[in-house]
C-alpha cells in the first residue's frame, strides 16, 4: 500500500515536470532566422526513435520527400534535398527550427510544419477528408521532434 502511494506520487511528479517543460506550439520561440534554441520537450532526443519517426508513414515520414543514405526505408523521395550531411550544414537549433516549422527558415518551402496548430486553410481530421473541428494537434509531438533532431545531428559526412 505504502509502495503504491509512493509510486503514485512519483507518477504525478513526473507528469508535472513534463507539463512544465513541454513547450506548446504557440509558445515556441524562433529567432530571426527560424532557429529554436531550447528543447521543445525538456527531455533529450533519442536518435534511435528519431529513425523510426523519420521512416514511418504514420509518423514523420520524412523519407517521403528526403533521401537519407543512412536509413534503410524503401522508396525515399526527392522532392526535398538529401539530408546526408545535414549536421554539417545546420546546428541543433537550426535543425529544430526547420523540423518544427521550415517556413520560418525558408519562406517558400513546401515542407509541412510539424509543430504548428493554427493558421491552416480547411484543415482536415487527419486523412479522413472531413473537417478537423477542434481536434487539431501538431503533426509530431515535441518529443518526436527532439528525437528527429537528435538523429539529424548525427548525419555528418
Amino acid at each position: 500500500m505504502k509502495r503504491t502511494l509512493i509510486l503514485a506520487a512519483a507518477m504525478i511528479g513526473s507528469g508535472a515536470i513534463l507539463a512544465a517543460e513541454t513547450v506548446s506550439s504557440a509558445d515556441v520561440v524562433y529567432d530571426e532566422y527560424g532557429s529554436i534554441a531550447a528543447s521543445l520537450s525538456g527531455t533529450a532526443g533519442d536518435p534511435v526513435n528519431g529513425i523510426e519517426v523519420m521512416s514511418s508513414r504514420s509518423q514523420g515520414n520524412c523519407v517521403a520527400c528526403h533521401q537519407v543514405s543512412d536509413l534503410s526505408a524503401a522508396f525515399q523521395g526527392n522532392v526535398g534535398p538529401s539530408l546526408d550531411g545535414a549536421a554539417d550544414r545546420w546546428d541543433e537549433a537550426q535543425l529544430r527550427g526547420i523540423v518544427a516549422n521550415a517556413k520560418i527558415t525558408f519562406p517558400d518551402s513546401i515542407m509541412p510544419s510539424f509543430y504548428k496548430e493554427t493558421g491552416y486553410i480547411r484543415a482536415g481530421n487527419a486523412y479522413t477528408g472531413k473537417a478537423a473541428g477542434d481536434e487539431l494537434t501538431t503533426l509530431l509531438t515535441a518529443q518526436q521532434i527532439e528525437d528527429v533532431v537528435a538523429y539529424l545531428a548525427t548525419l555528418k559526412e
Binding site: 522508396f75 522532392v79 484543415a123
Partner: protein, 284 residues
C-alpha cells in the same frame, strides 16, 4: 466484378515489380490500337504559369503500365465503355427516353464533346462539366433521377462519351463568360490546403517528375479521365481524384460536383489544352 478484382491483383503485383525499375518522364509514344496517335506533350498554354511544356500523365508511368493503355483488349478500363454504350440506348425515367432518343448515334453526336468540357451553358448561365450536363439531361429531358456525381454509372457514361473524342486535343475555353470560373479554379490550384499546406501546384507544377516515396509525380493533367486506377481497380472520375488529392493534404475536401471542383476542373483541363483526350487512360 471478379474480373476487375483479378486485374487489380495482377496490376498490383506488377506495380511492385515495376517500382524497382523506376524511370523518369520518358519519350515514349502513345499510339492506341496501333492507329490512334496521341499527343502526350505540347507547349504550355500561354495563360498557364510555371510550365513550359505540358505532359500527359501517361508519360510518367512505367512502360508496363503504359502498354495497358495502348491496346483496348489490354485496357482494364475498357469494361466501362460497353457499360456506357449500353446505357446510352437504355430508356429511363418518366419520358421513356434514352440518350439515343435525342442524340442518336453516340459516335457521331458525341465526337469532340469531351475535348471542350467543362464549358459555358448559356441557358443556365454557368460553367457545366460533362457530368453535370449528363445529369441535366437525365433530370430535365428524361425525367430520370440524377446519378451520383462520381458514381459508377456516371463514370462509365463519361468514359463512353469521352471515347468519341479520343485522340482529339483538349480545347476548353478560358475567356469570355467562363473567365470568372477559370480564375476561381486558378486560385484554388495555387492555394495551400490542409495541415500539410500543399497546393496542387506544389506537387504538380513545382515537383512533377520528382518522387514522393514511390509515387512518381506527374503534372496532374486530367486529359486521361475517366482513368482506370490500378490502386482502386476501377475507373475513376475527375472530381473523385481531386477529392483524394485534397484529402491527402490532410484537408477538409470539397465535394464532387461542388462549385469549387467545377472551377478547378475547368482550370486544370485548360492546363492540358493541346494534349489528346485519352479516356479511358490507365494510371497507378
Amino acid at each position: 466484378m471478379k474480373r476487375t478484382g483479378l486485374l487489380q491483383a495482377a496490376g498490383l503485383i506488377g506495380l511492385i515489380a515495376m517500382a524497382t525499375t523506376a524511370t523518369a518522364q520518358d519519350d515514349n509514344q502513345l499510339v492506341v490500337n496501333g492507329e490512334i496517335e496521341m499527343i502526350t506533350d505540347a507547349p504550355a498554354p500561354e495563360n498557364i504559369g510555371g510550365l513550359k511544356t505540358i505532359y500527359s500523365g501517361w508519360r510518367f508511368r512505367q512502360s508496363e503500365m503504359q502498354a495497358l493503355q495502348m491496346d483496348d483488349f489490354e485496357n482494364p478500363g475498357a469494361y466501362a465503355i460497353d457499360e456506357g454504350v449500353e446505357m446510352w440506348a437504355t430508356a429511363e425515367g418518366s419520358e421513356g427516353k434514352s440518350c439515343a432518343s435525342c442524340h442518336e448515334d453516340i459516335e457521331d453526336s458525341m465526337a469532340g464533346v469531351r475535348a471542350v468540357y467543362p464549358k459555358w451553358n448559356e441557358s443556365k448561365g454557368q460553367v457545366m462539366t460533362l457530368a453535370q450536363q449528363i445529369n441535366d439531361c437525365r433530370t430535365e429531358q428524361m425525367g430520370a433521377e440524377a446519378w451520383k456525381y462520381d458514381g459508377g454509372d456516371m463514370t462509365s457514361m463519361e468514359a463512353a462519351i469521352s471515347l468519341q473524342s479520343r485522340g482529339m486535343p483538349v480545347n476548353v475555353a478560358t475567356d469570355g463568360p467562363v473567365a470568372e470560373t477559370w480564375a476561381k479554379g486558378e486560385e484554388i490550384y495555387y492555394t495551400r490546403y490542409g495541415q500539410l499546406e500543399l497546393s496542387c501546384a506544389n506537387c504538380h507544377e513545382d515537383n512533377y517528375d520528382n518522387y514522393i516515396r514511390a509515387d512518381h509525380l506527374s503534372q496532374g493533367q486530367i486529359n486521361g479521365f475517366p482513368a482506370f486506377r490500378i490502386k482502386t481497380g476501377k475507373l475513376t472520375q475527375t472530381h473523385n481524384r481531386f477529392k483524394g488529392c485534397v484529402r491527402d493534404t490532410r484537408a477538409e475536401t470539397f465535394s464532387p460536383g461542388s462549385d469549387e471542383f467545377v472551377a478547378l476542373e475547368l482550370y486544370v483541363a485548360s492546363r492540358g489544352n493541346g494534349l489528346s483526350v485519352e479516356a479511358p487512360s490507365v494510371r497507378p
